[in-house]
């Protein structure tokens, strides 16, 4: 379903990676690894279509994502490095606003259930600026509970989370894969998911591919 061929990433005057290719079918997950600055986040942004690749192509269901545009974006759920949480809004408002902007039906009951699952019940009416780092991350990840779109692209989903929350997210990803979804995520930790097959890709392994231009 998701296919990348010969991707090259240039940031400023450095080539972060080149010749990155992979293919991901339904129910599969790609775990991106690599040290800091190896271009993991850049690759994720490329997969979303935010950053154009210096060369190479990304295809979704056999068609280039640049051509697909909105059709691709309606199958994509991206969770970036930043939480995309509004400090002034409560977790509940954030969750509902995100769903509304993505044109997804999410009623308050379902949203509350999602917040309960990520352990934010009792804080759903507190402005996010009063939450801890980990709680903010949980508020952001609450989106995933009812997320039905096919491709999840998650940047460091486990960062700032405690053990229980990591297991919870891994469970959500596992359930998503079991439904036939796809996931691409970056991580520094090896976290087992309950279902689906995991492919691994390590960026910046060979010093030759990463060089000054």
């Amino acid at each position: 379903m998701l296919e990348a061929s010969n991707l090259e990433c240039v940031r400023g005057e450095r080539r972060l990676f080149a010749g990155v290719s992979f293919r991901l079918a339904a129910g599969e997950m790609l775990a991106l690894q690599g040290r800091n600055g190896s271009g993991k986040t850049s690759l994720l942004r490329m997969l979303c279509g935010l950053t154009p690749a210096a060369s190479g192509e990304i295809r979704w269901c056999g068609r280039p994502i640049a051509r697909l545009g909105e059709e691709f974006r309606s199958a994509l759920c991206f969770l970036g490095h930043q939480n995309a949480i509004k400090e002034e809004l409560t977790p509940l408002e954030n969750l509902l606003a995100t769903a509304r902007l993505a044109q997804e039906a999410l009623d308050e009951e379902a949203a509350l259930a999602a917040l309960e699952l990520v352990g934010l019940l009792g804080r759903e009416d507190l402005a996010c600026r009063y939450l801890s780092q980990g709680q903010k991350r949980r508020a952001a990840l609450a989106r995933l509970v009812h997320e039905k779109r096919a491709l999840w692209v998650l940047d460091e989903p486990y960062v700032a989370l405690d053990r229980a929350a990591i297991d919870l997210v891994a469970g959500l990803v596992g359930a998503h894969l079991q439904r036939g979804g796809l996931a691409v995520l970056t991580t520094h930790q090896a976290v087992a998911v309950s279902a689906g097959s995991v492919r691994e890709l390590t960026l910046g392994d060979d010093a030759a591919s990463q060089q000054r231009l």
């Binding site: 935010l50 950053t51 154009p52 909105e70 930043q82 509004k86 995100t98 902007l101 044109q103």
Partner: protein, 222 residues
């Protein structure tokens, strides 16, 4: 489509209400700038009446400039802008929603204050009415055109100053027709033509500006 625009407006307005200090600051800036002019040029009613349209309109431009940098900067910082750019609808529609919201909390207060401030300048009733009407028609154009500048300077060094450099020249037609409408009323020429042209600018500003703004936002997100 409409529900998306409504969702964006609703979210931005709610955020603005939680951060009222910004709106209040821009509004008071408008009031203070307008009130400073009589102190600077003297209290002769005749002179004040002649200056009023220009002063109020220039102050409105500057007050709008003040709130523009935050139009996209907050969303950019916390990652919401990426989410908006990845929404399965054209980004321009979302921008349109944000422009309307910006007008509601940055432009509308100026419109509502204008008659009160116009009294300070000894404007007659018909001139006050036209002043308010011209601001009502013209300020949406300021929000629309300003959004282009805000998107172009997003995350750029010295963005605020650069923003005024880019946007103020583009505001000139709005200023001319807006202040001209009041002027024409005062001199008894009738404001009809000015107001229609202003309306055309506002329509253009609100409905065409979101497209270059969306393009600039995508460039900023790369």
């Amino acid at each position: 489509m409409l529900s998306l625009i409504r969702a964006v407006i609703g979210r931005d307005l709610r955020l603005a209400m939680r951060r009222q200090a910004d709106i209040v600051a821009a509004t008071f800036f408008f009031i203070i700038v307008v009130s400073l002019f009589p102190l600077g040029v003297g209290p002769e009613p005749e002179q004040l009446r002649r200056m009023a349209p220009g002063v109020l309109w220039v102050a409105a431009l500057l007050a709008t400039m003040l709130s523009l940098p935050r139009l996209f900067a907050d969303d950019h910082r916390d990652g919401t802008l990426e989410q908006l750019a990845l929404a399965p609808q054209p980004l321009a529609l979302i921008v349109l929603g944000k422009v309307i919201a910006h007008w509601l909390f940055a432009g509308l207060p100026l419109v509502l204050l204008a008659p009160v401030l116009g009294i300070q300048f000894d404007l007659a009733e018909d001139a006050l009415a036209v002043l308010t009407l011209s601001l009502l028609i013209g300020t949406p154009a300021l929000s629309g055109i300003g959004a282009i500048g805000a998107a172009l300077t997003l995350g750029v060094r010295g963005g605020g100053v650069l923003l005024s450099l880019l946007v103020l020249p583009l505001y000139i037609p709005v200023l001319i027709f807006g202040a001209g409408a009041v002027d024409a009323t005062v001199t008894g020429l009738g404001a009809q033509a000015h107001l229609s042209l202003l309306g055309a600018l506002a329509l253009g500003g609100v409905f065409f500006a979101p497209w270059p703004t969306a393009a600039a936002l995508r460039v900023a997100l790369e």
